[in-house]
């Protein structure tokens, strides 16, 4: 029975993994990391390590949702949830008091609120990129990260949605944004990019949620069937609460599997893994990927129109749409790496599903998009000079770059260091294959992308045309705690996702495993000889 993909055999041989070596990493050639860092372009590195069967993959992924939460989870969840609660209190304080509790003033009337909005919405874009664009490009490695990246998208959009909602001041008038007939006899102005933004962001949130949920339906059905099987076979364990002193408090009549079978059963909509259903499911998935790709580009373009269509020097540039999209992908991938690298260490067997090759691929995307962002900074600067508009040039030199003139120069140079310089370490192969280095750079990039939005918004606004209008923005404690609170909301939602939902796209992961191939013997002719050198 040759159910092993020939590419995997070659890859394992090159990696020094003897056939039959069931212990992952037992016999690994150190130059190839965990065995996935094969440099031969004709060899496809394995997407799942350790010669896992379908059953192993199911057990690993479902185990995260079924086993009791580990200690680190509680140690992360309790602070995250507390910070989220604090952020909610700050929002409440803002609503009952007014936007004066923030550091905004007449000169700088957009600051941390819109910075946070653009920061979070940009974070979300990597999830859509991974699930949509990489799906259209048939990048199989995306299956290891797409579920968690899509979850991250949803949670980032949740955080992003808070800020435009509350920054308007009297939030109970937020419904004015929607075209509803009202007693003011005014319709919303559809010629304003701010209104386009309302439609773009709400469409994006909805489509991302549908895409994420549709991807989860089969995996929720797997969790449902496992709970159901345990209940039928009588192997389901009753609820046991760990008590101090080592003894557990057991409730013999309450079984968590009953709740699982019910809740996962409702959410999986009666999915029964029929091929006729899978066929339509794949069609729907491809359509969603196809429409999400222009959607994600349009959303951040429209976000950038909020700035670009104004006449403010520093905002009024045509490069903003592509520049914002590249920055969003850059920041989003950094956040994916920043979250998944620790998770890879903390969750058992995670490394077999998210391999070093996956991390290296993402590090390369970070390098590429970082260069694009750096190029955009340079172009913006060049055009400010070449355009010979003295106000625009003044924004760049006097408001941003020159430490002697610009009070926010430190923010500009933080952004340059984090976004342009720090990813350059990925030119060195050993560094882009080292998870610790990737994690540190991803952290820098996340910080840098927040500063990028701060630089764009605040340094352009704080000095207008006349020196008499010049002012400064400093955040208040409410500003700071609201932003920190939004990070808490994000982390809380992400930790709940890791605990209760399928962290990997199980069905998709199984579909790219070598055993999924319906005709394993037909590969010797075509696929293994893709090295162009062999054609001649």
């Amino acid at each position: 029975m040759s159910s092993i993909h020939p590419d995997q055999v070659t890859a394992e041989r090159l990696a020094g993994l003897r056939s039959g070596a069931n212990v992952p990493g037992a016999d690994v050639n150190t130059g190839l990391g965990d065995g996935t860092l094969v440099e031969d372009p004709a060899v496809e590195s394995p997407l799942v390590l350790g010669r896992r069967s379908f059953k192993d993959v199911t057990n690993i992924v479902c185990g995260y949702a079924e086993n009791p939460a580990p200690l680190w989870w509680w140690l992360a969840f309790i602070p995250a949830a507390s910070i989220a609660g604090l952020g909610t209190l700050m929002i409440l304080y803002l609503i009952v008091t007014g936007v004066g509790v923030w550091g905004l003033n007449n000169q700088v009337d957009w600051a941390w609120d819109i910075t946070n909005f653009v920061f979070w919405i940009g974070i979300g874009h990597a999830g859509t990129l991974i699930s949509a664009i990489l799906c259209l490009l048939k990048q199989k490695w995306r299956t290891a990260v797409n579920r968690s990246a899509e979850a991250m998208t949803i949670f980032a959009v949740v955080c992003a949605g808070i800020f435009p909602g509350i920054h308007v001041g009297r939030v109970w008038f937020a419904w004015f944004l929607f075209p509803i007939p009202n007693y003011n006899w005014i319709w919303p102005n559809f010629r304003s990019p701010l209104l386009w933004d309302v439609f773009a962001v709400s469409t994006y949130a909805t489509v991302s949620l549908l895409f994420w949920y549709m991807g989860m339906i089969p995996d929720l059905a797997t969790l449902r069937d496992r709970a159901d099987l345990r209940l039928r076979q009588g192997t389901s364990k009753p609820l046991a609460l760990a008590m101090p002193g080592g003894k557990a408090l057991v409730f013999p009549l309450v079984k968590p599997d009953m709740i699982r079978a019910y809740v996962y059963g409702l959410l999986s909509l009666g999915w029964r893994f029929s091929s006729r259903h899978w066929h339509r499911y794949e069609a729907a998935y491809l359509i969603l990927a196809g429409i999400s790709t222009p959607l994600v580009l349009s959303v951040h373009s429209i976000v950038s129109f909020d700035f670009a269509t104004s006449v403010l020097p520093g905002w009024h540039t045509t490069i903003f749409p592509p520049y914002f999209v590249a920055g969003a992908v850059f920041g989003g991938f950094a956040m994916v790496l920043f979250l998944l690298i620790p998770l890879r260490e903390l969750l058992p067997n995670f490394k077999d599903l998210l391999t070093l090759r996956h991390l290296e691929n993402m590090a390369k995307i970070l390098l590429l998009t970082g260069m694009m962002v750096g190029f955009a900074y340079a172009t913006e600067f060049f055009i400010a000079w070449y355009g010979a508009n003295e106000f625009e040039w003044a924004v760049f030199i006097n408001n941003r770059v020159n430490p002697a003139e610009a009070p926010y120069a430190w923010a500009y140079w933080t952004m340059i260091f984090c976004n342009v310089i720090s990813p350059q370490v990925f030119w060195v192969r050993a560094l882009r294959q080292n998870p610790a280095v990737i994690w540190v750079v991803a952290g820098f990039v996340t910080v840098g992308m927040w500063f990028e939005r701060f630089v764009i918004i605040v340094t352009s606004l704080h000095r207008a045309w006349l020196p008499g209008e010049w002012g400064m923005f400093w955040p208040t404690w409410v500003d700071i705690l609201t932003f920190v609170g939004s990070c808490g909301i994000f982390m809380t939602l992400f930790l709940l996702f890791v605990k209760f939902l399928p962290t990997f796209a199980l069905a998709e992961l199984k579909a790219v495993m070598p055993q999924a191939d319906p005709h394993p013997d037909h590969h010797d002719e075509g696929e293994t000889k893709r090295n162009p050198g062999e054609a001649f």
């Binding site: 159910s3 069967s53 379908f54 199911t58 075209p179 006899w185 005014i186 319709w187 102005n189 559809f190 010629r191 304003s192 386009w196 439609f199 773009a200 469409t203 909805t206 489509v207 549908l210 895409f211 949920y213 549709m214 089969p218 059905a221 797997t222 449902r224 069937d225 159901d228 099987l229 039928r232 076979q233 909509l269 009666g270 029964r272 893994f273 029929s274 091929s275 006729r276 259903h277 899978w278 066929h279 499911y281 069609a283 729907a284 359509i287 969603l288 429409i291 999400s292 222009p294 959607l295 349009s298 429209i302 199980l506 069905a507 998709e508 199984k510 579909a511 055993q515 999924a516 319906p518």
Partner: protein
């Protein structure tokens, strides 16, 4: 057209299980209706090979359940490509037209003719359609996404509370690592003995009879 109609007809049957049903073709000894037989397989090549045999034997009402979508299964099973993309396209066009109408009505028509809606902001021409494009695109995408997910579910006859197949424990393992081919007793070619033999000869590991509750 014919395939689209049959896809929609199957959908209606799935949603109205309470319709009067014809007498069961096969019953067990104690009188319960037979849903069909299922055969289990444990590898992808085996189940695809068996599917090709079942297809060639002329069965119509049968299905293959697998933990993941198998590549090119529509050819191995011999069913037509889904019509879902056309439904989605229609929904997308509806969204585009809805957005155009909404913006034209509120920002042009109602300002020109309305009693009180007379405020013009920014001094731009009210009928300039170029500014309408972003929201036309967004609403088109929104409607297409809803149509893709809910259209897929409806054509699949989902959501539904239960299915006779869920009564089998070996069927539940399709969500893990097993493959199941199920042939329904409603199929004109179905015969308890011959169908079972076909599945066994096709390499099934187990063959099992599925009954319906009602």
């Amino acid at each position: 057209m014919a395939s689209r109609l049959s896809e929609m007809k199957g959908m209606i049957g799935d949603y109205l299980p309470g319709l009067p049903r014809s007498a069961p073709r096969f019953v067990t000894e104690d009188g319960t209706r037979v849903f069909g037989v299922i055969a289990t397989f444990s590898t992808t090549p085996a189940v695809v090979h068996a599917a090709e045999l079942v297809r060639d034997a002329g069965y119509r009402k049968w299905d293959l359940n697998s933990p993941f979508p198998i590549h090119d299964i529509e050819n191995s099973m011999g069913f037509r490509k889904t019509q879902l993309p056309y439904h989605v396209f229609g929904a997308a066009m509806f969204g585009v037209l809805l957005a155009a109408a909404l913006q034209w009505f509120t920002n042009h028509f109602d300002y020109q003719t309305g009693e009180g809606f007379g405020y013009i902001v920014q001094g731009k021409p009210t009928s300039a359609w170029e500014a309408y494009v972003p929201i036309m695109f967004e609403l088109g995408v929104l409607h297409a996404a809803f149509a893709a997910l809910f259209g897929m579910l409806m054509l699949n006859g989902l959501p539904r509370w239960n299915h006779p197949l869920f009564s089998s424990e070996s069927f539940l393992r399709t969500s893990d690592d097993r493959f199941v081919i199920g042939i329904e007793a409603n199929d004109p070619s179905f015969d308890p003995e011959a169908t079972k033999r076909l599945l066994e000869e096709a390499g099934a590991e187990t063959v099992e009879l599925i009954e319906e509750d009602a």
